[in-house]
Assembly symmetry: C2
Homo-oligomer: 357 residues x 2
């Protein structure tokens, strides 16, 4: 089923309104989810709406949060999200960072007591609109084992860097610090296919290609996969995200991060509040004139796009390029939704008395 | 041969003095190299001294640089290294970042017209001493191919994050964004061993396990190794380092980065000046009280160290832990140098009329 952006947006806003969000928050939360669907990152868009609703039903999401700055210097701050949707807490924090950068050159905000914030790219891109470099990261439900470990101690902990270009779209590096995203496992499960070695391990920490291993106590592996291929680097990146997002902000970290799924209870011995994010912005003209930077980034992009490739018909892909292309297309052609997602959304519609898709 | 720290330090200082460095710069440059040798990162210490000398002989390193801030806001700056040793330019830039952070909460410095800066960890750790979080990255000679490419367009572009802990040593993530470091290939070459798939490709971009492939036009692969294992993430990280270090500062980027080896000439069509770095510092107490942060980071470290492991005798390694242990030991027992390095250093001693090791 293909749904026009405007239809899906209004549907999503209505669900958030029905959950008790203000009009402003409902619009913002829907905008974050729609951005993901438009950019082709189907796993992080409206497909997650039911998940947010379930957490709200469990009273783990507060749809009327009083988001506050609890600590700050001219260029740093810690924000308490009051258990709000990460979809509204993270943009609030990013705006604080942008305002600080406007005034002092850079701004950095650690966030605690939040929830899943959608795609990191949404928040980092907010800075790009003001000719700033944007940073966004978040910790997440523990699914990843550190190198040598058989326990799930880290989330897929994404990090995102966004840079404004001139004639080309913004260059956006937005990546989980695990070898593979959970969404890719789910696809393999549905198709009954094995996954490559280096994505997951079983509950004893042994390499496996069975995509169902995660459900029976296994774990995702850090980027790099195994020690021979640098999994300690993926672990180090995931650790960095966890520490900046949660140890710095006062959120839960490591195995204490509350799970995104409502059927799993959060740990009873929290070490902080909710999940944590870390966002930042730096003015490009704090370093060199914006037009110079953009001209050189355009040159960088052109040189990499023109690179000789292994297969003549496979060009080098600039980070963010496929997502920007998807966004351009889907704004016109609409957003394709698989039947299971449409069904889930219509169950929500019925629950809240909202018009079905 | 095992050399006492004090002996190797004084030897190294004398070489830098003989190259025309000021006493202050010679001490600092030697300190950066010694830190690497002490921490067990043998590839980046005095083993590189001959390389610096050769670049100086080619007039590509200026041992009397006038390092200046060419652009700044309260919390950002661009530094021109005047073709100086990165070993002295990067600490200068880091001090600028720390001073800005002292006053405004955070400080960020992009550096152009510099050279190889040793280990990223040295610079990031400068911030930790002031209870700040330290960041350091640099671009480097092009040896790495982006995903799908058969050309060398990026360096091993390391990134480093350093965090001050309480009762434990600082947690330091210091990693090349390639799957394997060049030093590991050299070891395999010496031993006549094959390397794992996913480290390198040949000049046509085909997977190979021959460690000599790099010398015959092949390239290193980004962290992740291949598309199935997330090499686009390693490419994205390498790109981020390149853009922050060079597109932002006005240094050379991508394939225009001047090679570290003196026998290869720099490109004749530079897009900037020298190589680039990017360093930063954020005050921990810009986010939460330092003692709270350290107590939680200690707890993080304890939980990860206590993790159940795949092999009972192999514990989870906290990032930076082996290097800190090596430093503690080598400060007492001395620094082991392989015969080839001792020989190279004594050739330098003879050249400069300095006492041999």
């Amino acid at each position: 089923m293909i749904v026009a952006e405007i239809t899906l947006r209004s549907f999503t806003e209505n669900i958030f309104l029905a959950m008790g969000c203000s009009i402003e928050h409902a619009r913002l939360a829907a905008d974050v989810l729609l951005k993901s669907d438009l950019r082709g990152i189907d796993s992080h868009g409206v497909a997650r709406l039911t998940g947010y609703v379930r957490l709200w039903e469990k009273k783990r999401i507060n749809t009327k949060p009083n988001i506050t700055i609890v600590h700050e210097t001219p260029t740093t701050a810690t924000v308490d999200g009051d258990a709000g949707l990460g979809l509204v807490v993270a943009p609030y924090a990013m705006q604080v960072a942008i305002d600080k950068a406007e005034r002092y050159g850079s701004g950095w905000v650690a966030v605690r007591n939040s929830n899943h914030f959608g795609i990191a790219g949404y928040h980092a891109l907010m800075a790009v609109e003001s000719d700033m470099i944007g940073f966004a990261m978040t910790n997440a439900s523990p699914l990843v084992s550190p190198t040598y470990s058989s326990e799930r101690l880290l989330g897929t902990n994404p990090m995102c860097y966004a840079f404004p270009a001139g004639k080309y779209p913004s260059l956006i590096v937005d990546m989980a610090t695990s070898a593979a995203a959970n969404g890719k496992l789910e696809i393999a499960q549905r198709l009954g296919k094995q996954v490559p070695e280096g994505w997951i391990q079983d509950k004893n920490g042994r390499a496996t290609t069975d995509p169902h291993a995660l459900k029976s106590g296994g774990s995702l592996l850090p980027l790099g996969g195994d020690t021979e291929h640098g999994s300690h680097k993926g672990f180090g990146l995931g650790a960095t995200v966890d520490i900046l997002s949660a140890v710095l902000s006062g959120a839960n970290y490591g195995p204490w991060v509350p799970p995104f799924v409502a059927f799993l209870e959060p740990p009873t011995d929290p070490v902080g509040a909710g999940i944590g994010h870390f966002v930042g912005a730096m003015r490009v003209d704090g370093f060199r004139p914006v037009d110079e930077f953009k001209a050189h980034l355009d040159n960088w992009i052109e040189r990499f796009k023109a690179s000789a490739t292994v297969e003549p018909n496979q060009k080098v892909i600039i980070p963010g390029e496929p997502e920007t292309a998807a966004e351009k297309e889907r704004k016109i052609t609409g957003i394709p939704l698989v039947a299971a997602v449409v069904n889930d959304l219509n169950v929500l519609a019925e629950k809240f008395g909202v018009a079905k898709l």
